[in-house]
Amino acid sequence: MLSEYAEEILEALWIQIEEQGKKPLDLGPSRDEPAVEELVKLGYIRKDQGHIHLLEKGKAHALACVRRHRLAERLLTDVFDVKKKIIDEVSCKFEHLLHEGLEDRVCSILGHPKACPHGKPIPSGRCCSERKEKRTVKFIASLTELEAKEKGRIAYLQAKDNSQMQKLMSIGVLPGMAVSLLQKFPSYVISLGQSQFAIDKELASTIYVRLTK
């Protein structure tokens, strides 16, 4: 297994090169870091004067690291309710525990979130495409994955753009509101506060709910 620091390096490389499309990482002070040597030896990265490059072989590992980090952030915000200020710090440590399929379990419990609390996309895993996991534990799920009669509080909204967000807010769909699903077909009917609303599947899929009994 990779060392924690090596994982951090892979993650930073992937975000900088693949996600932001910027230049390779400056080697800087980590020149003599054993973690860098570890990655070079595995063939995940390549070193030249002053820069490290991400190699094909390292990409999949890097992607998995990013996924674990962002899932950890979601878990800590949505389930453990950790304060925003220390999220980064805690999730940096937490992510390294999410190995051996544990990250897929967390992903399922959270209802396969598509973005971290900062709005960055979470790379999808095997569990997201299979989607047939048994509903043993489920803390957070989008409205479309709930059964009729289930209820909870809105955890977060995953609106695709501002206009969709405005629509949700205009009917009072906001994080923290108590919501229960009354009906799923032919449209979604939810009870929110003292009112009922009918929404289509597309809007329903953007509402993630923290389930309560």
Partner: protein, 488 residues
């Protein structure tokens, strides 16, 4: 001191960084605004476009700094600021309402709860819709409004009193034949335009609006909207569009005006097209039902073809039209007993609105008919119409009915009624004629409304499409009936 307390009470506090951004923004806005600077600053942070342009104009020297603060504030938070602000307001609103309201323990079972469930269930919702349509539309509007009331007003009030009186008055005071025709001739402004508006349209739309207001007041419409949303998505509309489309069964012209309530331009165009093409208005339906009453099979074929056209044209329009896909979200209010005062007020309000917008169009139509007759344009158009009429297998006498159908949809159908009486039309021809006439160009009032609402180009393009399309469908139905030697 007192004013400070007032401000304090009104004000919702936000977290420290946001408060700092707000006060920095407030201090940079030096001009006068209609609302408080704090509200302006809040709207700026939520990136309201109109407010941003306004501030850009009024604070030219400081706009760069203002924009910098807005960017900074947005970068500080991981969630969008409008969400953060809304959440804070929601919390405050909940706090205040919790102080002022208590909730009774609700009964698990209520009649209205059960009724609501039945209405929103896809299996029981359908039959309920049929019941509403049968009693509300067919019985009340069709039989009572378009039958009893129209007969009374048209034959008794206008036929026996107003028209003869006005004709005498005009003929004795105005010596010019041309002007006499314009006012009280066969298609005169008074004898046709005003009579049509008050003796035919008034009772039909009044009964329709009355029935519609009852249905509206119970809270049934949002439940219907949620039932049909998925089907409507296939034709490029959302469930919200049931309101104008149902209204179209009363009067398509009115319904076209109501398409304004649809959120996107794309939905408005598709709804306008479907109203013009495939939704027969109450006046038209009355005559068509009378025409086909001896031929139940013919009625079924008519209904089937119209529904098919509605779905296919909607489906194709949704495929072709660019633009934002519709979203559906609607509040489902609790069901309640309709209140008579509400219903009467709504009906009166709609009728007033309706007459202000539509009556001038009827007057205009009368003037057009008058012009068409004195210039001889009509006889030319009738000759041209003879060709497509023959293609769809109808006798040339039907051309007049079609031309008049354009000025008054039900008039066209009534013209067919005369042809049927003298035995010129077989059952097959009758069905083909009814289908074509239903699809055929909307009445002139609706054409003008289409142009008014959708613009000249779109209005005219739609009309040309409908003109060709209606005859093509008539032609097709005629061919199919002939090929399989079906006699209805």
């Amino acid at each position: 001191m007192k004013s400070m307390w007032k401000d304090f009470a009104k004000r919702i506090g936000y977290d420290d960084p946001l408060e700092i951004y707000l006060s920095r923004l407030e201090s940079l806005m030096l001009s006068e605004y209609k609302i408080s600077k704090r509200s302006m600053a809040l709207l700026l942070l939520q990136q309201d476009r109109d407010i941003l342009t306004m501030v850009e104009e009024k604070e030219k020297e400081r706009i760069n700094e203002i924009q910098k603060i807005i960017q900074e504030a947005n970068a500080h938070y991981s969630q969008s600021l409008s969400l953060i602000i809304s959440m804070r307001r929601q919390k405050e609103a909940s706090r205040i309402s919790a102080m002022a309201t208590t909730f009774k323990q609700q009964d698990k079972f209520t009649i209205s709860g059960l009724l609501s469930k039945i209405m929103m269930n896809p299996f029981t919702g359908g039959p309920i819709l049929l019941i509403v349509l049968y009693y509300g539309l067919y019985k009340f509007v069709g039989s009572f409004g378009a039958g009893v009331l129209v007969d009374f007003l048209e034959d008794k009030v206008f036929g026996a009193y107003i028209n003869p009186f006005m004709t005498n008055l005009v003929n004795s005071t105005i010596p010019f034949k041309l002007l006499q025709d314009l006012l009280v001739g066969e298609y005169g402004v008074i004898t046709l335009g005003v009579r049509y508006a008050f003796a035919i349209i008034l009772p039909i739309v009044a009964t329709f609006f009355f029935a519609f207001a009852i249905v509206e007041d119970t809270g049934y419409l949002p439940r219907l909207a949620m039932l049909v949303d998925q089907l409507f998505k296939k034709i490029g509309l959302s469930g919200r569009a049931v309101i104008p489309l149902v209204l179209g069964f009363g009067c398509d012209t009115m319904a076209t005006m109501v398409t304004r309530t649809l959120p996107t331009k794309r939905e408005r165009i598709i709804a306008t097209l479907l109203l013009a093409l495939a939704i027969p208005c109450s006046a038209q339906m009355g005559v068509i039902l009378a025409l086909l009453k001896d031929s139940p099979l013919g009625l079924i074929v008519w209904l089937g073809v119209i529904i098919l056209v509605f779905l296919i044209v909607g489906f194709l329009a949704a495929k072709i039209m660019p633009g934002e896909l519709p979203t559906f979200y609607m509040e489902i209010p609790p069901l309640r007993m309709p209140q008579l005062t509400n219903i009467l007020r709504k009906t009166a309000m709609r009728l007033k609105w309706y007459f202000l917008e539509i009556l001038p169009l009827f007057i205009f139509a009368s003037v057009l008919i008058w012009l068409g007759q004195i210039t001889g344009v009509f006889s030319i158009v009738v000759k041209i119409l003879n060709y497509p009429i023959k293609w769809i297998g109808l006798p040339s006498e039907a051309s007049v009915a079609f031309l008049f159908g354009f000025f008054r949809r039900d008039y066209g159908a009534a013209g067919l009624y005369d042809l049927k009486k003298v035995g010129l039309l077989s059952a097959n021809q009758l069905v083909v004629a009814c289908i074509t006439l239903t699809l055929f160009l909307p009445c002139i009032a609706q054409l003008l409304m289409n142009i008014k609402e959708r613009g000249l180009r779109m209005g005219v393009a739609m009309s040309i499409f409908i003109l060709f399309f209606s005859f093509s469908i008539g032609y097709l139905v005629n061919i199919i009936l002939t090929l399989f030697s079906i006699s209805l």
